[in-house]
């Protein structure tokens, strides 16, 4: 389901958060037209229902249903992907992302229109957890792209200005360059004559 409209404020229960403790990417010709799809390894120690839902999904015929909603978070240093699963299990969760270290993940999800999620713990990487149940979630365009572009540029400009001591107007071109490189990485896709994967 897509939702395009004016952004609105909402309170979300912090207990619904499932943080990312590891990541990677996976490319398959039949998924996202061969684009590298980010793999998020989620800390489900406080949300065992999420791990159970991912496991169960592999044993139920047919695809499930999920509603996706992007959000920026206050304090304004991150974004979140809010997922409301409806089938085969009713479950609500959101995945928070910090812009500076995890912008490439958000960019990858937006470009691929999908994300893999799996349960795990800190230190896990997809290449060493191939046998762990993994769930592909389609994340369609919801109108978030335009907000993300402006938000990312603003956050990176602030970060570069803070770290280098440059005034913001001089830090901005560097932020634009960083975003350009992120976009190039996120736009990679496998060739049609072979598998590829990376962590």
């Amino acid at each position: 389901m897509t939702s395009v409209g004016k952004p609105r404020r909402a309170r979300v229960d912090p207990a619904l958060a499932v943080p990312v403790v590891g990541d990677g990417s996976l490319a398959q010709p039949e998924v996202a037209d061969g684009r590298f799809v980010p793999v998020l390894i989620l800390d489900t120690s406080r949300r065992p229902d999420v791990a159970e839902m991912i496991r169960v999904h592999g044993h139920v015929e047919g695809p499930g249903d999920v509603r996706c909603q992007w959000a920026t978070m206050k304090p304004p240093d991150g974004v979140a992907l809010h997922l409301t699963f409806e089938r085969p299990v009713d479950l609500e969760m959101y995945v928070p992302f910090s812009v500076e270290p995890q912008a490439v993940l958000v960019e990858g999800i937006l470009r691929a229109g999908a994300v893999w999620i799996q349960a795990g713990e800190s230190g896990d990487v997809p290449s060493r957890t191939l046998g762990v149940p993994r769930l592909l979630v389609e994340v369609p365009e919801t109108g978030f792209r335009s907000y993300w572009d402006d938000f990312l540029l603003d956050q990176l400009t602030r970060a570069i200005a803070r770290d280098t001591g440059l005034p913001r107007r001089k830090a901005r071109p560097y932020a634009v360059e960083v975003i350009s490189q992120l976009a190039e990485i996120a736009a990679l896709r496998m060739r049609s004559d072979g598998p590829a994967g990376g962590n």
């Binding site: 839902m53 015929e61 085969p88």
Partner: protein
């Protein structure tokens, strides 16, 4: 009625200010009041009639929008292959409304408690065909969508393939069959007992 009373008063004033017969003015005033009283009675009667018409209209609307009903005739379980079973429910769908209903989704809700004490309800979709793995299931699944005409009923088998790995060997707490119509209304009935059919 208010206008009739005011007109009667004005007419009575005019009649009293003229140099004509005082008796005529008095009769006119009495007649005017009488007309006003009759108008009041008529409006009160109309109000009662309108309220009864509203009640009838609300009953008609409720009959038009009446939800469909479910009745579980029988439930069976065919254990056909190791680690799995086909569960079937013979359900009668009754439609008391004045317009037809179309059942577009049938699910078996399987509720269980995982070893991590997570209570999960898995929605297993119904199968539309009996495949090679179910060749010993001697019933035809109901054709979906299932259309039920106005003030009518239909019955049929709804079949669900349930992999034992869904619950990860945890015992099932509850089974419910849930049907949903094209308007998103859903009705459910719990399945307490399955007749075991041995191959």
């Amino acid at each position: 009625m208010f206008v009739a009373v005011v007109a009667a008063e004005l007419f009575a004033e005019q009649a009293s200010s003229s140099s004509g017969n005082a008796d005529v003015a008095a009769v006119t005033a009495v007649v005017s009041v009488g007309i006003a009283a009759v108008a009041l009675l008529v409006s009160m009667s109309n109000r009662r009639t309108a309220r009864r018409a509203l009640v009838l209209a609300e009953r008609q609307e409720a009959r038009r929008l009446a939800p469909f009903g479910l009745y579980l005739n029988e439930a069976r379980r065919w254990r056909l292959q190791p680690g799995g079973a086909t569960l079937g429910a013979h359900v009668r769908v009754s439609n008391p409304a004045d317009r037809g209903v179309s059942v577009v989704r049938a699910e078996l809700h399987v509720q269980y408690t995982s070893p991590e004490n997570v209570i999960l309800t898995v929605k297993v979709p119904c199968v539309s065909d009996v495949g090679p793995a179910d060749d010993s299931v001697p019933v035809e699944p109901a054709e979906m969508p299932l259309s039920v005409g106005p003030t009518s009923a239909r019955a049929g088998w709804f079949l669900f393939r349930v992999d034992a790995a869904i619950t990860n060997s945890a015992p099932v707490d509850r089974y419910d069959i849930v049907l949903e119509d094209v308007e998103g209304r859903s009705e459910s009935v719990q399945i307490v007992t399955f007749s075991e059919v041995l191959r």
